[in-house]
């Protein structure tokens, strides 16, 4: 039925193949659940708070049952008070705990910018590293079924401009678990960017507690003609596009950045030095996006490898329309990546 369950449940299961060992298959959301569960079990300093974390829905299932298991001092519902909650998490982190604060929509993070940007992210720097702020802010971007301008934003690009904030955006279940664990272990504020359309993605996820270094990208598909750097959900579209490109005789290398700040410069330079062409796919609006940052980086550090101008495939610079017709026109898809990539290689 419409909304909440809607769009995501209608999506095809997307299975991301990679080199990961193990044959246990989990969904992205279950991988996250496991990461939180194991982190709570491993470290008594970890706690989770946010609107609805202990209710029947449990943030799309990612926190379900954790209150029952760890008690209401470690997993609890909160008032709807994003800015203060962020500061409260930061304070708790300063005092030695490891909070995970959850916003069910990325849009709501905008209410917490003061505490996130002016306080949590700068604190260690302002006090010469004497106080640490090891907190995780989990946010989920939505999309589809008329979520509209205030319930579908992907503002990771905007937040890349914040010194002191680490940002990760895992696209596979394996990375979701590993990066959540890294984010919790990290001594800095880490923004954990999810996309609702990834929650159903499946892939191999080992049972053990493992982490993925923040700042390391990964090549999802090797290729020679063009580098496609994709982030978050756009990885799924990029991989579909790469299949189509292959049929059209174009070999695309798909780089999944995983971490947005800091991001893996080496992997981009290396790939572009091989392909000479760069396309970047981002889930946010084009201007001031993650794609913009990667493009600027390529201009600075990979300019002589580039045979062609860089191309960005992003949402247009308009708020998200609610209308289904306009929504469809608004979001870029594998078709757009395919078309732009083919043009870049052939023209």
């Amino acid at each position: 039925m419409p909304w909440t369950t809607v769009q995501v449940e209608k999506l095809d299961n997307f299975f991301i193949k990679d080199d990961t060992a193990g044959d246990r298959i989990l969904t992205y959301k279950d991988a996250l659940h496991e990461a939180l569960d194991q982190s709570l079990a491993r470290d008594p300093r970890v706690f989770i708070m946010g609107e609805g974390v202990d209710d029947v829905a449990g943030v799309f299932g990612t926190t379900k049952g954790l209150k029952e298991k760890y008690g209401e001092n470690r997993v609890f519902d909160t008032p709807i008070a994003e800015n203060s909650l962020t500061g409260i998490a930061a304070g708790a982190a300063m005092a030695g705990l490891r909070p995970v604060l959850i916003h069910a929509r990325m849009d709501f993070i905008l209410l917490s910018l003061d505490q996130l940007v002016n306080h949590a992210s700068k604190w260690s720097y302002m006090f010469a590293g004497q106080v640490k702020v090891p907190m995780v802010v989990r946010t989920i971007s939505a999309r589809g079924w008329g979520s509209g301008a205030q319930h579908s934003q992907c503002i990771q690009g905007m937040l890349m401009n914040v010194p002191g904030l680490k940002i990760v955006a895992p696209a596979t279940p394996y990375d979701a678990k590993g990066l959540m664990i890294s984010a919790i272990i990290d001594n800095n504020p880490v923004l954990f960017v999810e996309h609702r359309w990834l929650h159903k993605t499946t892939g191999p996820v080992p049972e053990n507690l493992y982490s993925i270094p923040i700042g390391k990208g990964v090549i999802r598909r090797k290729g020679n003609d063009i580098t496609i750097v994709a982030i978050s959900y756009m990885l799924v579209e990029a991989l579909k596009a790469a299949d189509k490109l292959k049929e059209a005789g174009i070999s695309a290398e798909v780089v999944d950045l995983r971490s947005l700040k800091p991001f893996d410069e080496e992997i981009i330079i290396e790939s572009v030095s091989k392909t000479g062409r760069l396309l970047i796919a981002d889930t946010g609006s084009k201007t001031g996006s993650v794609a913009s940052e990667i493009a600027a980086f390529a201009a600075e550090k990979a300019f002589y490898h580039l045979k062609k101008p860089v191309v960005r495939v992003c949402c247009p610079d308009t708020p998200t329309p609610t209308s289904d017709v306009l929504e469809k026109a608004y979001y870029p898809s594998d078709e757009d990546i395919f078309r732009e990539a083919a043009k870049l290689v052939r023209d």
Partner: protein, 321 residues
């Protein structure tokens, strides 16, 4: 209260109920492709407050805005067309159910960000004061919004500057699935009004007469330049937070609680009152029902037969001239 105002409130409540029930019934056909938040059970608040407002007064509402839009006199055809995301909708289909607008009757838009409307309504009230007109603003919001900083900061500001604004909290106890008790330890939202230096009252939000009486006084205070009021109206939503789900039993709201509130139907109660006063007769009820049926039927067929926007519109209105 005069007879025609009593009938108007009754008519408004019934119109809200009928429209909401119709939306509820139509939702399953997947043509309303946007989240909806129904106010069935909460009709008395919007009806009781808006009956005292002039066309040029302002209201600001939330994701749960249908009732207020209707009560303030918003265009019903354009409202339903907006739910169907058509070009004839009040926001040309780009806003949807959570973002209704009708500038002709003082509805400057509504927000899906909890607490986001409270500063905006405080701002229109500031404008009324600076422009020296006697327009009043009513801001509607849920109990959840009282968690937000915007609520506290706005009330403080409005009280300091004696702004003509009435803050109307529709306290239905729940924010999605979180009970008020999990979010607020205090004795009541209305007391914050007093804390910030304005009258604050807790009233029965299912009693349209009580709502209307307190709203009348608050609006009069505004017009006389005596400043803001906070009204906490205790009410209950019958449907789940979003869509057409019923979130009763099994980890959600207790069935007994739900049944109790069903028995406190604001419309049934008011109808009984009007019948005792011999204001509502079978004849009048039939006439009102027929008129409402026509309005609702007309709006839904208008909406369904309207065109969808074309993709060239995507980038329009990012900036205006």
């Amino acid at each position: 209260m005069e007879r025609d105002k009593l009938i108007e409130m009754y008519r408004t409540m019934k119109l809200i109920r009928r429209i909401e029930q119709r939306i509820n019934d139509e939702y399953k056909y997947d043509e309303i492709k946007t989240p909806i938040h129904l106010s069935i059970g909460q009709e008395a608040v919007a009806a009781g407050v808006c009956v005292h407002l002039r066309k040029d007064d302002y209201i600001f509402s939330t994701h749960r805005n249908h009732a207020q839009y209707i009560a303030k006199g918003g265009n019903i055809r354009k409202m339903i067309a907006e739910l169907y995301l058509r070009t004839t909708g009040c926001a040309r289909g780009r806003g949807g159910s959570m973002h209704l607008v009708d500038t002709d009757v003082g509805i400057l838009g509504s927000t899906a960000i909890v607490g986001g409307n409270i500063p905006l309504g405080t701002g229109t009230a500031l404008a009324s004061k600076l422009l020296n007109n006697d327009r009043v603003t009513v801001v509607f919001f849920g109990d959840g919004a009282a968690d937000e900083g915007t609520f506290h900061e706005s009330l403080n500001f409005a009280a300091v500057r004696k702004l003509p604004v009435v803050y109307v909290c529709e306290n239905n106890f729940y924010a999605i699935n979180s009970h008020q008790k999990a979010r607020q330890a205090g004795e009541g939202i209305y007391q914050w009004g007093r804390g910030y230096g304005m009258p604050g009252y807790r009233i029965d939000g299912n009693d349209v007469l009580e709502v209307s009486e307190y709203a009348r006084q608050a609006i009069e205070r505004c017009r006389k330049g005596e400043g803001p009021t906070l009204l906490e109206c205790i009410t209950y939503r019958w449907k789940g937070h979003i869509g057409t789900v019923d979130d009763v039993g099994d980890g959600y709201r207790p069935k007994e609680e739900y049944d109790y509130w069903l028995s406190k139907c604001p419309i049934k109660r008011f109808a009984e009152f009007l019948r005792i006063k011999e204001i509502l007769t079978d004849e009048l009820e039939k006439a009102i029902d027929e008129e409402i049926d026509t309005t609702v039927e007309d709006a839904f067929s208008f909406a369904k037969s309207s065109p969808k926007p074309s993709t060239v519109e995507l980038t329009e209105f990012v900036y205006v001239d």
